[in-house]
């Protein structure tokens, strides 16, 4: 194996096929950029899920005077009902992690705090707000267990799961991620087709060399290696561009634009970007290598 010879062949090949090489670099960069962005959105969704599911609670609102749901037909919740609910909740441990009782007074204080700039505060008095149990679940996805056990029970007006509100938002992000992923897949297919075609042109433009190589007994590996390296190099450059774009997304779009304006939530960290980058590089170089390998097997036969 003569490294300098192979290297000079690769250099010649890339230079001779410059426009095609550029096209490969750009399509690889765009498709991998989209691919990386979709992986980043997925990481973002899972980061936000970790962050928010940790904070969400299931709220069991108890009947107050004005409640009109069937389970509140008996009027305001009785102390006995309240104690029964509390002990039933306790029996659901360890699924139920924390139980917190919010009285009407506390509910009113929180309401006043949340809407302190709104005139609505003046129109609501303490007795109109329901008392409630705030329950934190060890596994927020097991909401149904609590809901089925308590919804519709006498003394309980409503069982509310904050997760359901968040899930709508996550579904939206998930949908965006899916669209980005689909576009990325289409682009990756285009990239593979382009690489196949580039390899065909490269093999054709060097058919004189390769036919002589075959005649004098160069091994298939030696004949194909420069082509494979060219494809891998172009794809690698494209992947590096895409990774650069991803880093830019993280450091500018997320850290400087989104994070300061949405301080209440968590964003993906550099560790996740660091995990995505090698996936992009391997996907790009691997796909290009495979595409080139199978094309060359057809066009550079022994």
């Amino acid at each position: 194996m003569r490294a300098t010879f192979v290297a000079s062949e690769v250099g010649n090949g890339l230079r001779r096929n410059l426009t095609m090489t550029l096209a490969v670099i750009i399509t690889v960069a765009v498709s991998l950029g989209l691919f990386g962005a979709s992986l980043l959105v997925r990481a973002q969704v899972s980061t936000m899920k970790d962050f928010w599911y940790d904070k969400v609670e299931v709220s069991l609102f108890l009947c107050s005077k004005g409640s009109d749901t069937p389970s509140c037909a008996g009027g305001q919740v009785t102390p006995a009902q309240r104690d029964q609910i509390k002990s039933d909740l306790e029996s659901l441990r360890p699924l139920v992690q924390d139980i917190y009782y919010e009285s009407k007074t506390e509910a009113y204080a929180r309401f006043q705090d949340q809407f302190k700039n709104s005139p609505i505060v003046d129109n609501v008095n303490e007795s109109e707000l329901p008392e409630s149990f705030r329950v934190k679940l060890a596994d927020p996805t097991k909401y149904d267990v609590v809901a089925s056990a308590f919804a519709g029970r006498p003394g309980i007006e409503q069982v509310n799961d904050q997760r359901q509100i968040l899930d709508k938002f996550f579904r939206l992000l998930g949908g965006l991620q899916l669209i980005a992923l689909l576009i990325a897949l289409v682009m990756l297919v285009v990239t593979v087709l382009l690489i196949v075609n580039t390899m065909r042109v490269a093999a054709f433009s060097r058919r004189r060399e390769t036919s002589i190589m075959r005649l004098v007994g160069a091994s298939n590996f030696y004949i194909q290696l420069p082509f494979l390296l060219e494809a891998a190099l172009a794809a690698g450059l494209g992947a590096i561009l895409a990774i650069g774009a991803l880093i830019l997304m993280k450091s500018v779009l997320i850290d400087q634009v989104l994070a300061p304006s949405f301080q209440f939530t968590a964003f993906v960290g550099w560790d996740q970007v660091l995990a995505i980058a090698p996936v992009m590089l391997l996907t790009g170089v691997g796909l290009a290598g495979l595409a080139a390998f199978f094309t060359l097997r057809k066009y550079l036969r022994v």
Binding site: R2, F5, R208, I212, A218, I223
Partner: protein, 229 residues
Amino acid sequence: MILFDHVSKVYPTAQRPALDDVSLEIEKGEFIFLVGPSGSGKSTFLRLVLREERPTKGQVWVLGKELNRLSNWKIPALRRQVGTVFQDFRLLPNKTVFENVAFALEVIGKPSSHIKKVVPEVLEVVGLDGKEGRRPDELSGGEQQRVAIARAFVNRPMLLIADEPTGNLDPGTSIGIMKLLDRINKLGTTVVMSTHDSQIVDQMRRRVVELDTGHIVRDQSRGVYGYAR
């Protein structure tokens, strides 16, 4: 060296076989002419020896190996022991004489110290010393064919296949090429040469195998090109 044992070759789209039940043995050190009109099967014969084609029937033995049973990855090793020369030279136009010959060694992974040693040697054998730096388009046809022969011979192959090597050359130049091939043969390499050039065949008086529509119609030691003269 070469043994064809009842070899037939039918191309998928052809109506008659290109070679039809051909049996032939070529001994080590021989110089043999393959003659016959176009389409008689000469090129197919040579392509079978180089394992560019596989026979439809029969066995082809080259350098002690039965080519049907030779796995794909062993073909390069076979071709390293078989030099090939063509009518159209097949040189690389953007490489010098030296680089064209060196290319054959580079692509089989020989170290550059070895290349620097053997390329000038072989260029001297073919009579091109002093023209190492020329490019093919600066050379005459005969000189270009000498470069091609140098490239085929630089590995000191056991066998040299020449497919109408003088087909593009004038008679005077052809004689020079034939002298060179004769010299290579005397250095111990078996030479199989296909040709249409009756003058050369008649002058050399070597073994002649004549093919016609895929059959061997004549096999003469010290033969001439055709009966009818």
